[in-house]
Amino acid sequence: MDTNTKTLGEALRRNGVTRRGFLKFCTATASMMALPPSMVPAIAAALEQARRPSVIWLSFQECTGCTESLSRSHAPSLENLIFDHISLDYHHTLQVASGEAAEAAREAAMHANEGAYLVVVDGSIPLGNPGYSTIAGFSNLQTLEETVAGAVAVIAVGTCASFGGLPKAYPNPTGAVSVSDIVTDKPVINVPGCPPIPMVITGVLAHYLTFGTLPELDHYGRPKAFYGTSIHDRCYRRPFYDKGRFAHTFDDEGARKGWCLYKLGCKGPMTYNACATAKWNQGTSWPVESGHGCIGCAEPDFWDAGGFYNALSVPTGEISRNASYAIAAGVGVGAIAAGINQRTRNKAVRQHAEVTIEDLEKR
């Protein structure tokens, strides 16, 4: 419990971190939080005073991909420094304890940090039948409601927790819902992505750790620092889009030359995430750079949004088929309308009463 009362500044100095090392740490943190370099002094000042929060990590209907993403940064790194400084008191994939001991750890953390701990959730919550997903005999809904009650805020990590994700995709057999569908009385930060970029997860934690506040959020509850710009607007292939240079198949000249993938169904224009700058695998590459369009995984209902390989502007229905039916129907109804018109006029012609000079004047 000693670490809980110590500030980060003290902890770092105790670990022999120099002022240059601390400045470097702050620079890296600013970069990670996607904040401008001018924020570094403020970050330094805040971090000096930052206190270690308790974090409880709940996993519901999920594939563990989010945890995998986060733990990709396995080597000792700045992320680790942050995790050294948070108290990850419950995470059933990562923690050593299991069974009743694990649940006891959760309850202890909740009790000790009442009103001050963070809850991280990955996975969606089934409402169709509570039996679809349970932990220690409790339904996900029960666990969530109980854990969130004393939390200061909830971070919904991954698209399943943020928007329902794959479990919620049509026809949504489990009646899956997102965290924010249930938690309405606490701040919920959504960190969507399938999986989310590890740097984004840690960036959000770092923000809370650094400033003790929640980052500015967009309409979907996502931190604006990472989700403020669309993939399209930050894409290095954007100039090709503006110039009208497109790959039409995955093996044509355009694809080889790295032209825009819009026509191959890239969802970049409607997807807000930091992939284009944060990149993946320690900055190695990201989907568009690897030659595949964005599938829009950080957006609600991306599974149902009309196919990964259909251009964004193309309607989801079978237009050509519908159009041909409509043409057939149009010709049919049109023929009837034409018949009515001809009948009307023929009748008028038949009813024509010859105009003679006697009846020019109205009597």
């Binding site: 008028a348 105009v355 000079i357 020019l360 004047e361």
Partner: protein, 420 residues
């Protein structure tokens, strides 16, 4: 006996809607550009004279009877019906303030032939008893007496006698087997007998066989002006009968705008068959004679002259180049008006307006455009090829106190003939 009623009018409107009318009404986006082509708007600035607006009654019938959505709207009571009051109000717009000059048909960006529709709309106006009484009276005279001005053959015969006595020319009448049968307008018999004299001189000069027809000399057709195909048919039939009786090869339309339209373009459709003779405008005939070298004329005169294109002959009839070639034959100082040929401005008296006393004040007012156009040329003489235009312009110039001699083109050519 029949009676003019709203129902008959509506039925006539219904009869008149064809594919062009439907396409025209479907295409109008109320841009108002047709107003800028209309004398009655440009000279008064009153938007009610916007050409397309004059067709509101016909448009309503089209919408309510010939479109699915219109029929639905009609059932739901969302459209305004065509009523007696509407037609009474629109009489001024369709008769007093429209000469069917078709200038609007030329400017419409979506291609609406508005004059075509005004002609059709007048059928409904006639059938519902909403045509001007003056034009009605003219039609009555045309049908009963044989000429809208009440001119009988007796009067023409007297003119013929005069001319023959004065000039020694021969004017053949009712000669079976002649090649050419010229028609006259009663205005020429009464106001401009020099036209008849010129005809005689030209035919003699060119050595053509021709004849007038004692029971079909009147070319004007009040049926076309008032907008009744039934009356127009009766009047056209007289000419066809006369021409067939005399077995002529050519019927020559006189210097009269709508007469050319009625016999040349509408005639065959009115009587429902092709003519066994050809119809030419007198200017077309003169141009043919010029081409074949049968017109020998003296040196062109240097007097500055200008030419007024009658709408029915030029813009609506396609006789635009012939008069200019003839003018070149007789004048070395011919100046065009700013807007001429297809783009000519109407004299303001066509389409029955000159026969309609209700329209007199308005007609004089809008004549200002023609007056300005003429004055701009600085010409000392105005030539035209329509007796009606000539009368309207003479009256108009008088109203604006402008002194300018006028002459018909046929007379002008006749005066320049030289006999060897």
């Amino acid at each position: 006996m029949n009676e003019a009623t709203l129902e008959r009018g509506l039925n006539a409107f219904r009869e008149q809607v064809d594919a062009p009318v439907a396409a025209f009404f479907s295409s109008c986006v109320s841009c108002g550009l047709c107003a800028e082509a209309c004398l009655f708007y440009t000279e008064t600035g009153d938007p009610k004279y916007t050409p397309i607006r004059k067709l509101e009654p016909l448009r309503r019938v089209w919408e309510q009877e010939y479109t699915l959505i219109g029929r639905v709207k009609k059932v739901l009571g969302l459209v305004e019906p065509v009523t007696d009051e509407l037609l009474q109000e629109w009489q001024e717009l369709l008769y007093d303030s429209c000469t069917m000059c078709a200038r609007c048909s030329l400017v419409c960006p979506v291609g609406n032939d508005i004059a075509y529709m005004v002609r059709k709309a007048r059928e409904g106006m006639v059938a519902s008893g909403n045509s001007p009484t003056d034009v009605q009276a003219a039609a009555e005279r045309a049908v009963r007496i044989g000429s809208p001005m009440g001119v009988r053959y007796k009067a023409l015969a007297a003119q013929i006698q005069h001319i023959e006595a004065d000039t020694g020319l021969v004017i053949p009448v009712d000669q079976v087997g002649a090649d050419y049968m010229p028609l006259l307008s009663s205005m020429e018999v009464i106001n401009f007998p020099e036209y008849i004299e010129s005809l005689a001189r030209i035919f003699q000069h060119a050595g053509l066989s021709w004849t007038l027809c004692s029971d079909a000399f009147e070319a004007t057709n009040t049926g076309i002006q008032i907008g009744s195909s039934d009356i127009a048919r009766e009047l056209v039939q007289r000419i066809v009968d006369g021409a067939e009786r005399l077995q002529v090869k050519y019927v020559i339309a006189p210097e009269c705008g709508h007469a050319y339209t009625s016999i040349r373009w509408d005639g065959p459709d009115l009587i429902g068959r092709r003519f066994p003779f050809k119809v030419l405008h007198i200017l077309e005939l003169l141009d043919e004679l010029r081409v074949s070298g049968r017109l020998k004329t003296e040196k062109p005169s240097a007097e500055r002259i200008t030419f007024h294109d009658p709408c029915s002959i030029g813009r609506k009839g396609g006789v635009i180049d012939s008069p200019r070639r003839l003018l070149g034959l007789v004048s070395s100082n011919f100046v065009e008006m700013k807007d001429h040929g297809t783009w000519n401005w109407c004299c303001g008296g066509g389409g029955g307006v000159s026969a309609n006393t209700d329209a007199e004040a308005l007609r004089t007012r809008v004549f200002r455009r023609k007056k300005d156009q003429i004055e701009e040329t600085g010409a000392s003489k105005l030539i035209t090829a329509c007796a009606n235009c000539r009368l309207v312009i003479e009256e108009g110039l008088e109203a604006y106190n402008v002194e300018l001699p006028m002459e018909g083109l046929t007379e002008l050519v006749a005066h320049h003939l030289v006999e060897d």
